[in-house]
Symmetry: C2
Subunit: 208 residues, 2 copies
Amino acid sequence: MQIAIVLFDGFTALDAVGPFQALSPLPGAETVFVAEQAGPVGDDTGSLTLVARKSFAEVTRPDILVVPGGPDVPVHDEALLDWLRTVDAATTWTTSVCTGSLLLAAAGLLKGREATSHWLALDAIREYGVTPTGQRVVFDGKYVTGAGVSAGIDMGLTLAGKIAGDEHAQGVQLMIEYDPQPPYDAGSPAKAPSVLVEKFRAEVPASS
Amino acid sequence: MQIAIVLFDGFTALDAVGPFQALSPLPGAETVFVAEQAGPVGDDTGSLTLVARKSFAEVTRPDILVVPGGPDVPVHDEALLDWLRTVDAATTWTTSVCTGSLLLAAAGLLKGREATSHWLALDAIREYGVTPTGQRVVFDGKYVTGAGVSAGIDMGLTLAGKIAGDEHAQGVQLMIEYDPQPPYDAGSPAKAPSVLVEKFRAEVPASS
């Protein structure tokens, strides 16, 4: 079983590393970070660099595809969109975290489906013919989308349970000690102080 | 303000990336990944490579030090322990995630203090004269330790709030949409099925 996590300039690190940590212990799984060209790929902060071990040309039939997001995902990158369409044709599961769902949508893979995204991108994904839901993890057929950034951990554990059973996924949760205790209850627009929600909404271009 | 996240062969990726995502938005912060030598550093799975942009020699006075853990942290790596001691002398905050606290302890920095670690390493840290607590995030003076792997997100957000205020940290939480909804309630040994807890305990060498 091959898990391919795709990287592109400006990805958000936790979008990729959350599901990586949850999915890579799957029995018999080989995880590969892949980008158009193999080599270092920088994140959205400019401080973190992950290495893509393989190029698009070298990864053609992953069983599980994971697409992270970022604040400005390359929805017009035809090489990336072509590769997503090509490998999706044979995946067992095609997944995304955060605005990674905008890339799947831009590739035409989510048309007519339910999906989620970062809370600031739920309007944008609707423009691709996708019905956004308010859930943190959305399954629609083989397409599994997670909400913003940290939701990739929940998405990965949920998918790990579907694939390898509850006990496997609970073991992963225990080993990553995922017993979350956030110091605030501000992790969604419904719960955060409205002044913050409005501030971030004002910073997002209407067309993004 | 410089945040230094130290890397070594076999680190656990989410240990480093969780606090990175929570702390790097601090106002005026520059985050640097550092290792004994600059260059690629492989994680504990062998599948993920992060790049250390700077060497120990180039990072001598970080304000915040973050030490990730891993399943087999190099507690006898004198170059690493020396660097931890050197930079700790001038940090404002010295932090760890998971078994990163074993490295701080091995460097002699936690002696007589309260700290935490991965749940499987709480006995091991006691051998360094440290008092382990059952909390997910432990503050003792400027030393801040988080429990296993995913606890680095809680540690990072808690510290971000102490440094830059609740509203800043709540904004970070909202942007990483950290509204955790794990599919199971198995994230600590007190909650997970006992068969899993016993299985993992049996796999840990008594001396680790």
